[in-house]
Amino acid sequence: MNTKHIIGGGIAAVIVVAGAAYALTWRSEMAAVARPAPETIDPSVVEKGARLAAVGNCIACHTVHGGEAFAGGLGVPTPFGTIYSTNITPDEATGIGNWSLEAFARALREGVDREGHHLYPAFPYDHYTLVSDDDTEALYAYLMTRQPVEAVAPDNDLVFPLGFRPMIAGWKMLFFEEGRYTAASDQSEEWNRGAYLAEGLAHCGACHTPRNVLGARITDEHWSGGSSEGWTAYPINQASPAPIPWDAEAIAFYLRRGWHPEHGVSRGPMAEVTGNLGRLPDEDIAALGVYTASVMGAPDAERQANADRLREAIATGRGSGQAADTMTQPDVAGADEDRGAAIFASACATCHESGRPQPYGGLDFRLSTAVHADNPQNIVNVTLFGLPPADGEASAVMPAYRGVLSDADMVALLNYMRARHTDLPAWDGLAEMVGATRSGEHHVAIRPADGIERAPGNLGAEEQSWRQN
């Protein structure tokens, strides 16, 4: 065989492989249609779609704070760069107004847009693929009856070469399993409804499951904990670190209201989730509670005993007298723990030991998952950035301590809180985490509590680049 043949064969092989790759990645364009007239759409289907959209939390990613609903443009930070959500209003030029139901369904459940481009899995179609045909149609009806807005999202800002969309096809081949939800025959209807919602539209695992280096969920570690926009999403399986274990009722209460007396308030991206779920019918919320509780499993005897002891300790009440006590301690320049104790007494106890009930009283830290978790990122976030006030909505408000506490003081305080409220070992790497979070190196999304059913602005460590538009 001479060189020419080898080269020729090589070129042919490349063409074949490229052709195959192209064939595999290529998806057809679906014809643009006229936007369906809103009057022709059954209002009860729209209503159903509204509820489903609340579960899917579409509005949170597809809306920029202060901007128009569903018009896109929110920068979602990922390890690979920033992806901007698209305009899903029924605007025909810049939104999805000229998408047919088929095109919408394909996007929702296969991650391919009308023109045939693969969508980045920041849009969680790996969850939405479970959504039934009826529900897809309802979502379509809902979106098609929204206010059309002319808006073009900024270009994605991704690490090279991830901007090249056909590569997503490869990712899908490795990690994406397309297909509708199939009911588990050995489980109740309510459980199945909960599973369908949680694993599908609610896409809990998108945050609560760890991901590999390529950004795909590690399905073997389902609900073992993950992260979202700089926050830790706690394990919501048997590894849940909550001092008082969750049960179905507690979960339902929390999802409905955004707080629970024994767990605190939802914050960060979870605040948007509970804000949206607040409008769901009781059956759906209860179903989510049932399913989630079953994944968490019943607590073992030791955990239950600890919980009972904790409940009793809290019920016998401890108000803010403790704050006053520490005023009599003369030496505050002493050991780190003393300093942490003094800071706590002075800066935290007024709210956190007031005995005032949730959601407006500061959480008693003996109940705090954030203080009990292995990863202290959330307690660092909240201490640095607080819980910004809502505008016109009752909400838990906490001041930011970013300007108040130096890194050293914050570490002393958090170490003290860990030691005082738990029996767990001290956190590792706390100082580095505090420094990186404060500087913005570890980017955190801070959301005010109002408009939690839409995507408010980021008041955190770093300005989001969308502002430069």
């Binding site: 609903a69 407006y360 016109g392 909505e393 009752a394």
Partner: protein
């Protein structure tokens, strides 16, 4: 001798500092004065507050150096009254406002003008000072004429002196030769509008430079020598009884001077402020109370009001109260919840008992009534108690100020010989201030074939809208003592300016109307005057209903209102704002609406019409107000900027009330005890633009303006929402949940 009684009696000087006042050029023209003898017509009435205090030197004093001091029984609440009254005096005297100092409400120094409330300050104090100043000017000129041997027509006022062909004599020597302890005359000539140069000019407020540089200005800033700090421990709920105060270790806490208990009244005093706060918390933990459920169910509060009527009064009646059949008729029910004053600075007071004399510095709106009530509570003679007004944070009515003064007085009596500053905590202000009362109203109306309203029936249910101290029976601390005063529940009172029924009578010309006030005497939740009193709820209801009738009559809302207004000044504000706003019926983008409202506050005070544009976001129920225009007629406009400031402020505050606010309570106590649980408007919800157009009527008397915007703003918002998304909101506050629920309901039907 403590410094306290000499504190702040320096007076507030009109001179706010070099170069800050607009340069003021006096024209120096002679006062055109009739040569005829001025006859004293004793039958004519003295205006404003003069009848109660007719002596000139109660209002105007001139010292030997010619320095002028104005005295007023009114208090500076942030409404700019000090500056406005200085301007009034300066205008009549013919001097530079910068040369006038002002002394405000002090039972030891100033006239008794009751409360600084009801937007009466300009009408009462302004008219009195205007009149007194004019009279003093006349006396100065007469004396100068006598001293220089000339006639008044040859004299002119320049600076603080009178100049004429015979020489110049300063105010000081002139005043020294005069006796200003004479009664004012009702017929003294006043400066004609054409001769005015100060009214309507931009005189900057005297207090703002102090506010922005941290000067000692608020009651919270007072730090007399030897002052100690106090905090009270309030009961956990209304009617709770203090069983015991356990071992709290409070007495050995740093800086603690002592604890004072009297029945259910509990307080602690310490050297430093935060020591007092910490001690209060310890005391709070150690206190054991017996509580009971004394409050109605919040979710059924309007039913409760309707079911507990004590007495029904007729506010207005004309023609028949029976609605005809066969015409276009409409009925609606409107609700207004309990609301907070929500002063940004919780109430505070400084008190000192020196021997048998008590001096209290307080931001109460009424130093005399509060003094009388405190004296009664303590069993002291009134002339041994002095209450001096010092500004606090904005109060917007009867907030905790009077009670805090009483708290401070009780503590001062228990710890005599040093000044005590008592401040409420945020939770205490939210929990214990008297609230704006809940109201529920039914309206029924009919429109005739001529497109005019033929019948109007209005039924209002509410408690008393004022329980200001008129005695110790209205002081919260007095009701907590071991020998308590029983809280006095007011009876129904129907008076022209109205209370709960304020503005329940539409200004519109309607042949048949019947307006009834179903008064509820019981007051499980303590209520009192909140800016506008009943006007907020009544104007919201009636102006919303006007729009519905306009729709029934197929008429534009502005045209419909004009059809029923006979008062030309009312017509003027309506037309003015419609023009400025560019009120049309042109289509607006989806979910955007425009709304209009009009009211004459109390049907006696300022006229105000407004128009606004807003957007409703159906996905979230959020209401975002865009541009707002208001037209105001306050009679003779003294401080234009003051009128604008108060109107803008009233609009923004009412916007917050209307969209967000309601007190939350369970069967025992208020649970909305801080800003997280009683949210008020933040910057994000501030309208894009507010333009206030003042119609100046120099010939007319001053009209109170500070409360004129509350009701119309609420109605304009309700009307704009109706225009934007076709839903009529009747249940205040117009929260996002309610907007979404209304939208859902409409879609379902």
């Amino acid at each position: 001798m403590s410094d306290l009684s000499t504190l702040t009696r320096r007076g507030f000087l009109g001179a706010a500092g070099g170069g800050l006042l607009v340069g003021f050029a006096m024209s120096g023209h002679a006062w055109a004065q009739s040569e005829e003898a001025q006859t004293y017509d004793a039958s004519a009435e003295l205006p404003g507050s003069l009848p109660d205090d007719p002596r000139l030197d109660s209002w105007i004093r001139i010292d030997p150096e010619g320095g002028i001091t104005v005295l007023t029984g009114k208090a500076e609440l942030g409404q700019g009254i000090m500056t406005a009254l200085i301007m009034v005096a300066a205008e009549e005297l013919g001097v530079d406002p910068a040369g006038i100092a002002i002394l405000t409400a002090d039972t030891g120094e100033t006239p008794n003008e009751g409360y600084t409330a009801a937007s009466h300050s300009m009408e009462e104090s302004g008219m009195a000072i205007r009149h007194a100043a004019a009279h003093v000017r006349l006396l100065l000129l007469e004396e100068a004429a006598r001293q220089t041997g000339t006639s008044i027509s040859e004299l002119a006022i320049e600076g603080s002196a009178v100049r004429g062909p015979g020489g110049t004599v300063g105010f000081g020597p002139l005043a020294a030769a005069l006796d200003l302890a004479v009664p004012a005359r009702p017929d003294v000539p006043l400066r004609a509008p054409a001769d005015r140069s100060i009214y309507g000019s931009d005189v900057p407020r005297v207090s703002i430079p102090w506010i922005v540089t941290g000067a000692e200005y608020y009651v919270q800033d007072l730090r007399p020598e030897g002052m100690a700090h106090a905090r009270v421990v309030r009961p956990p709920s209304a009617g709770a009884r203090l069983i015991s105060v356990g071992a709290s270790g409070v007495d050995s806490m740093p800086g603690v001077i002592g604890v004072h208990r009297d029945g259910n009244f509990l307080a602690v005093v310490a050297e430093q402020e935060f020591q007092a706060v910490s001690a209060m918390r310890a005391l709070q933990d150690a206190a054991e109370w017996e509580e009971s459920e004394t409050l109605p169910e919040q979710s059924r509060i309007y039913d409760w009001l309707r079911g507990n009527v004590t007495e029904t009064g007729t506010v207005a009646e004309q023609g028949t109260g029976e609605l005809p059949s066969g015409e276009r008729t409409l009925r609606a029910t409107f609700n207004r919840p309990y609301m907070l004053h929500g002063s940004i600075g919780p109430s505070a007071a400084v008190a000192e008992m020196q021997g048998d004399r008590l001096v209290v510095h307080s931001h109460t709106q009424g130093v005399y009534p509060d003094r009388d009530a405190i004296a009664e509570m303590l069993g002291m003679p009134q002339d041994k108690v002095r209450v001096i007004h010092v500004p606090g944070a904005g109060c917007y009515g009867h907030n905790g100020a009077d009670d805090a003064a009483a708290d401070a007085a009780l503590i001062a009596r228990a710890f005599p010989g040093r000044p005590i500053r008592l401040s409420w905590m945020r939770e205490q202000e939210h929990g214990w201030e008297p609230y704006g009362p809940a109201m529920t109203m039914d309206i029924a109306g009919a429109v005739g074939p001529d497109g005019r309203i033929s019948h109007w029936n209005y039924d209002l249910w509410s408690c008393a809208h004022t329980t200001r101290p008129g005695g110790a029976a209205h002081l919260l601390p007095a009701t907590l003592l071991a020998d308590p005063v029983e809280f006095d529940l007011p009876d129904l009172k129907i008076i022209p300016p109205g209370l709960g029924d304020r503005n329940a009578v539409p200004l519109y010309t309607i042949p048949n109307k019947r307006i009834l006030f179903h008064f509820v005497k019981q007051m499980p939740i303590r209520t009192s005057a909140l800016r506008g009193l009943g006007a907020y709820g009544n104007v919201f209801a009636l102006e919303s209903f006007m729009d519905e009738l306009a729709i029934l009559a197929e008429t534009d809302p502005v045209t419909f209102r004009l059809r029923h207004l006979d008062d030309p000044r009312a017509v003027a504000v309506v037309e003015k704002v419609a023009a400025e706003f560019n009120w049309t019926s042109d289509p607006l983008p989806a979910n955007v609406g425009r709304g209009f409202a009009f009211a004459r506050y109390k049907n006696m005070a300022a006229y105000l019409a407004m128009a606004l544009e807003l957007q409703v976001e159906p996905e979230t129920g959020r209401v975002k107000v865009g541009r707002v225009h208001a037209a105001v007629d306050s009679g003779a406009a003294v401080s234009l900027d003051g009128i604008r400031n108060q109107t803008e402020g009233g609009i923004v505050q009412s916007l917050s009330w209307t969209l967000f606010e309601e007190v939350i309570f369970d069967r025992k106590a208020t649970t909305s005890i801080d800003w997280s649980s009683y949210p008020i408007l933040r910057f994000e919800s501030v309208p894009d633009e507010i333009a206030v157009h003042v119609i100046d009527r120099p010939e007319e008397r001053f009209l109170g303006t500070g409360e004129a915007a509350q009701g119309p703003t609420a109605a304009a918002i309700g009307n704009a929402i109706r225009d934007a998304v076709g839903i009529r909101m009747t249940d205040l506050p117009l929260t996002r949940e309610k907007v979404m629920a209304a939208l859902d309901a409409r879609r379902a039907s």
